[in-house]
Structures are given as structure tokens and as C-alpha cells.
Symmetry: C2
Subunit: 219 residues, 2 copies
């Protein structure tokens, strides 16, 4: 039996906080992509506002982790769990930052008709959000296999990113406003590609947490 | 007198590691910008290769921090120092990632003549590198005032970023390769703007470490 009765309870609280943070971040990235697709400035502003809650989660989780380590003198495997939670929280916060990046672009493009309906970008967004979901489930269930499958999905996102870059650059011309819009869309694709990267970081964290071994999913 | 003789020594080792990491990252971002300006593919490849060392630093610092907390039961102010080191190491690693992003663009553009000599981008790079230097000194010297001055420099970088975005978008036309090059340069400007942001994060970390208060420098 563990001699530290409060420790596992605190660890459960930490994991619950991280799951809640993950769900909030998923909601944020979903809303940001949706705001862009629907040119919905209100939702975009909501995303920017709600990012504050994500920062609060990060502060709370950081403090929880550091206190847990300081007070309970965890063993190596527990230390890995806590260290991983710290890392995952940072990745989640970066994903939320990218949701804000996308929401800001929604606001900048508000009122403009899109040069072309979005196709590849929503596909990238769907996969990236699915990856975020998978990475969170892999964390909750400590499912190393599920975490490892993120690498394949990341490849798909990378390929879509290349193709949309190529397409958008080909659509540029002498019209400044058109170039401006296409450039903003290029950045949206870039942010989604980074979101996918962060979910593979989370997957790597899960693999390390469970196995103690480092594996690079993002190659 | 402190009852933990090994603690302050360990803390010094941690701070030395972080300073070394910071110097290595500064070197990386300097080289990446230089490789772009000189279209020097070899230096760019070196940057990409050397990023591995930065990842090693991060792993080492993370483990050092967690072990320090676990074994020594630090007081609140020490816990802040260690928590800040963890954060700063993450920001430094992100800056190194952006050096790699820029180096990759050097490689993609290698052999192409630039549409226009780089002007604003090197200026952005100079300020961003100066900010990195200042943030590292503010950490070493625990200089809150110096950390706070990063906010002004960040404003300058943001303004240069807007102006270069505007300029590059105005230069796009019907030539795909030209658009491709201009788009890559847009991304370089974006990465430099992010580097500057990370240095303000470091500055915020220093302020928190010294005063225990959170201050947003990136507004």
C-alpha cells in the first residue's frame, strides 16, 4: 500500500484538470475553425476571450505539479506522470494560442467574400481536431498504441499543408486584397499544421509517461 | 544558514545549464538569419543538426528541475526559480525551433536570386536577437527593469512585421516562383515575430521569479 494517502488523490485532481483543459482547448480550436468557415466575428471574439481561461488552467496545473513534487517526493514513475502533465499543459496552451491566431484572421477577413470556398483547410482542421481528441484519450487511458497512431495522421496533415500552400500561392496575382486574403489563409494552414504537431508532442509525452522511453512521432 | 548544503549548488548548476542553453539558442538563431541573408545552405543544415543539442539541453534541464524539487523540498521562492527555469527552457526550445524553420526556408530558397534585397527582415532579426540577449541577461542578473524593457522592443518588432507583411503582399503577382519566395519570406518575418514574443515570455518569467507577480509584457 502506498504510504502517501493524499498523493494519488492529488494526482487524480491533476489528471482531471488536464482533461478539462484539453476539452476546453478542443472546443476553442473547433470554434476558431468554425468562425473562419462561417465568417462569424462574434465566435472569433469569444475564442480570443476564452483563451484567458486556458492560461488560468496552465497556471493552476503548473502550480499543482510543482507542489505535488515538492510535498510528496514522488517515485520515478510518478515523477514522469507529473513531468508529462507539465509538458502536455504547455502543448495545450500553444494549441489554444493557434486557435486565437485563427480567430484573429477570421476578424481580419470578416465581411470579405472568400476568393474560393475553403476545402483543404477544413479537412486539415478536421484531422487536427481528431488528433487532439485522440491524444487526449491516449493520455486518459494511457494508451501507447493510440498515441503512436498520431504519426500517420500527422503525415496526412503535412501532405494537405503542402498541397494547400501550393494551391494558394498559385492563386496570387496583382490584386493586393486578394493576396492579403490568400496569405491569411496560408497562415491558417500553417497554424493547423502546428496544432497537429503539438498533438504528436502530446502523444510522445504519453508514450514517455507509460514506457519511460522517448519516441519521436514527428518525423 | 540554509540546512540544505547541496541545494544552492544544484540551483547554480541549473542556472548555468540554462545560460548555456540560451547562448546556444542565440547562436542558432543568429546562424539561421545569416544563412538566409547569404543563401548559405551549409550553415542552414548545421542549424538543423545543432537543434538536437537544444533538445538535449531541454531534457537535461527538465530532469534537473524535477529532481531538484523532488529531493530538496524547496521553499516557495526557490520553487518559483525552478518553475521559471522550466518555462524559460521551453521558450528557448521554441526559439530554436524557429531557427530551424528559418534554416529550412534558406534551403528551399537556395540558388534563387532574391526578388529584392532583404531589409526589414534583418532589422527584425537584429532586434529579436538583441531581445533574446537582454532576456538572458535579465535572467542571470535577476534584473526586473531590464526584463520590462522587452515590451517596447516587442512593439517595434510588431510594427516592422506589419510593414514587411504589407510590402511583401504588394509584391506578389502572377509569377508562381516569385509568390513562393515572397511567401517564404513572409513566414520568416512571422517566425522572427514569434521569437520576439518568446523573449518577452522569458522576461515575464524573470519578473515572476523575482517579484512573485505576473505581468503581461506581450500586449
Amino acid at each position: 500500500m502506498d504510504a502517501r494517502p493524499g498523493f494519488h488523490q492529488s494526482l487524480s485532481i491533476l489528471q482531471k484538470e488536464l482533461q478539462d483543459m484539453g476539452e476546453s482547448v478542443k472546443d476553442l480550436i473547433l470554434k476558431s475553425v468554425d468562425s473562419l468557415a462561417k465568417s462569424d466575428e462574434n465566435t472569433a471574439r469569444q475564442v480570443i476571450k476564452n483563451d484567458d481561461h486556458i492560461d488560468d488552467y496552465l497556471t493552476k496545473i503548473d502550480e499543482l505539479c510543482l507542489r505535488l513534487i515538492a510535498l510528496q517526493q514522488p517515485m520515478a514513475s510518478d515523477l514522469r506522470i507529473i513531468g508529462t502533465a507539465l509538458k502536455i499543459a504547455t502543448d495545450l496552451e500553444r494549441i489554444a494560442d493557434h486557435a486565437v491566431d485563427i480567430a484573429k484572421i477570421t476578424i481580419r477577413l470578416a465581411g470579405e467574400e472568400l476568393v474560393k470556398p475553403l476545402e483543404v483547410i477544413p479537412e486539415m482542421a478536421d484531422i487536427a481536431i481528431e488528433m487532439l481528441h485522440e491524444s487526449l484519450v491516449s493520455y486518459t487511458e494511457r494508451d501507447v498504441h493510440r498515441a503512436a497512431t498520431l504519426a500517420e495522421k500527422d503525415d496526412r496533415v503535412d501532405k494537405l499543408y503542402s498541397s494547400v500552400m501550393h494551391e494558394l500561392m498559385g492563386m496570387m496575382g496583382s490584386d493586393f486584397n486578394r493576396n492579403r486574403q490568400l496569405t491569411h489563409l496560408l497562415f491558417v494552414a500553417h497554424f493547423l499544421e502546428r496544432v497537429a504537431d503539438h498533438t504528436t508532442n502530446i502523444g510522445e509525452g504519453v508514450i514517455y509517461m507509460v514506457t519511460g522511453k522517448r519516441k519521436d512521432l514527428n518525423v
